[in-house]
């Protein structure tokens, strides 16, 4: 989360992928960095012990959320 916020402050579009059990911490970090409404992707916890198939499904889910977040402004402008 900190990396994504740092990139944004440097003018680079970014987002973060957070597992659901870390959502309060991600929001706390966004708040202390002064960007409390910063959007991020959320996938189910955990990661380390997942099967390859489950991990793949979570990756697809994460990518779709990240694309939606990163292109949010673009989509509105196009509309």
């Amino acid at each position: 989360m900190h990396d994504a916020l740092t990139a944004e402050k440097a003018g680079v579009a970014a987002t973060a992928i957070i597992t659901d059990r870390f959502v309060p911490t991600a929001k706390a970090m966004a708040t202390v960095q002064g960007m409390s409404d910063y959007p991020f992707a959320v996938i189910p916890h955990p990661i380390a012990s997942n099967s390859e198939q489950t991990l793949h499904e979570k990756a697809v889910d994460a990518v779709q959320q990240c694309v939606a977040i990163l292109l949010q402004g673009e989509t509105q402008a196009d509309a």
């Binding site: 900190h2 870390f22 309060p24 911490t25 706390a28 970090m29 202390v32 960095q33």
Partner: protein, 346 residues
């Protein structure tokens, strides 16, 4: 007194103070001493600091840690004003980039700041280095470590479930501060090993996991004594974390006497453990981690606990009887490195 900027609350008594502080999440769960203006000012005076003086800035959360907030939390923890220079030094140490304060306090790994104090201030403020050294006894040990925890909670937002994501944590998160028993040790004190001049006082701080106690009362051979510590480190590498970093070693008098009688200095212990505390990837199969044996560079891949012998922090401490010792493992290898900071007294 008028320089203090923190809000002032008018509460009936100490019970009301504790009710409010607990309700607002400003404590570690134990009762606190009300931080009155007078007590806070006494702490600032003892440190020779203005309330607005910035001790350090935590870089990730971008929070300045002011002397006033340090003093408030020190009073709450039960500190006497004379403890303030130690508390200030610990904060300066933790805020050095190599300590990685944010990572080590936010991580699910749940480390605590293990503090070792060297130099003449130990005796001036009554820090314990002997009986029950890792636990209860001295006000100074208990309250200095507790002050650091309260500062982390109240200034840096290390609230469990929020910016403190420890899965378990460990009891050292209440307080984890010891002194080295320099007077009863034949060896160079830790701070002097780490470039602090003799006669100066200093703290060494590391992000430590819970101590593992060892025992060996059946040998006079320093290699065998060191090997018991090395075995515990190897065990930690397999069951907890493989990565090399700072390990602390607590060596009590009974073992020190045997090791020193054989002519060994601290660096001999460091050299032995540097060579001995090593495992190979296939050893993971013995602790339920078969799944990762063939990853990385394969089953023969070697791992050492220490990047160099100096990464082992050997501390003379503990009661006079008993062949017990302890290792304090690092939070996550060298992602957080121990920092030694001189203690400045006004």
């Amino acid at each position: 007194m008028t320089q203090l900027r923190s809000p002032i609350y008018d509460l009936a008594d100490i019970v009301a103070v504790n009710d409010m502080y607990h309700r607002r999440g400003w404590t570690d769960g134990l009762p606190i001493l009300p931080p009155t203006e007078e007590l806070v000012q006494d702490c600032l005076d003892a440190a020779g600091l203005a309330p607005s003086a910035v001790i350090s800035v935590e870089s990730v959360r971008q929070r300045p840690i002011t002397a006033e907030k340090v003093a408030i939390n020190a009073v709450m923890a039960g500190c006497l004003p004379a403890y303030m220079p130690v508390v200030i030094a610990v904060i300066k140490a933790m805020c050095q980039p190599e300590f990685n304060l944010h990572g080590s306090t936010a991580s699910t790994g749940g480390s605590a700041q293990f503090i070792v104090v060297n130099g003449p201030i130990r005796q001036r403020i009554g820090l314990n280095a002997t009986h029950n050294v890792l636990a209860n006894h001295s006000r100074a040990n208990a309250c200095i470590g507790r002050a650091i925890r309260l500062i982390l909670i109240n200034v840096l937002g290390c609230v469990p479930g929020q910016l403190d994501r420890s899965t378990l944590g460990h009891p050292g998160k209440f307080t984890f501060c010891i002194a080295e028993d320099e007077e009863d040790s034949p060896w160079t004190p830790l701070a002097q090993q780490r470039s602090i001049p003799a006669g100066a006082s200093a703290v060494t701080v590391m992000a430590g996991e819970s101590p593992h106690q060892t025992m060996n009362e059946w040998t006079r051979d320093p290699k065998e004594i060191a090997e018991t510590f090395a075995a515990e480190i190897r065990h930690n590498m397999l069951t907890y974390s493989i990565w090399a970093g700072n390990y602390a070693l607590i060596v009590p008098k009974q073992l020190r006497e045997l090791i020193a009688a054989a002519g060994w200095q601290k660096h001999d212990i460091q050299e032995h453990i540097y060579r001995s505390a090593r495992v190979v990837r296939r050893d993971w199969a013995t602790v339920g981690k078969q799944q990762i044996v063939n990853l990385g560079k394969g089953a023969d891949q070697r791992f050492g606990a220490l990047h160099s012998p100096d990464d082992l922090l050997v501390v003379a401490a503990g009661g006079p009887a008993g062949g017990f010792g302890a290792i304090v493992p690092p939070w996550l290898g060298s992602r957080s490195q121990a920092v030694t900071q001189i203690i400045e007294t006004p």
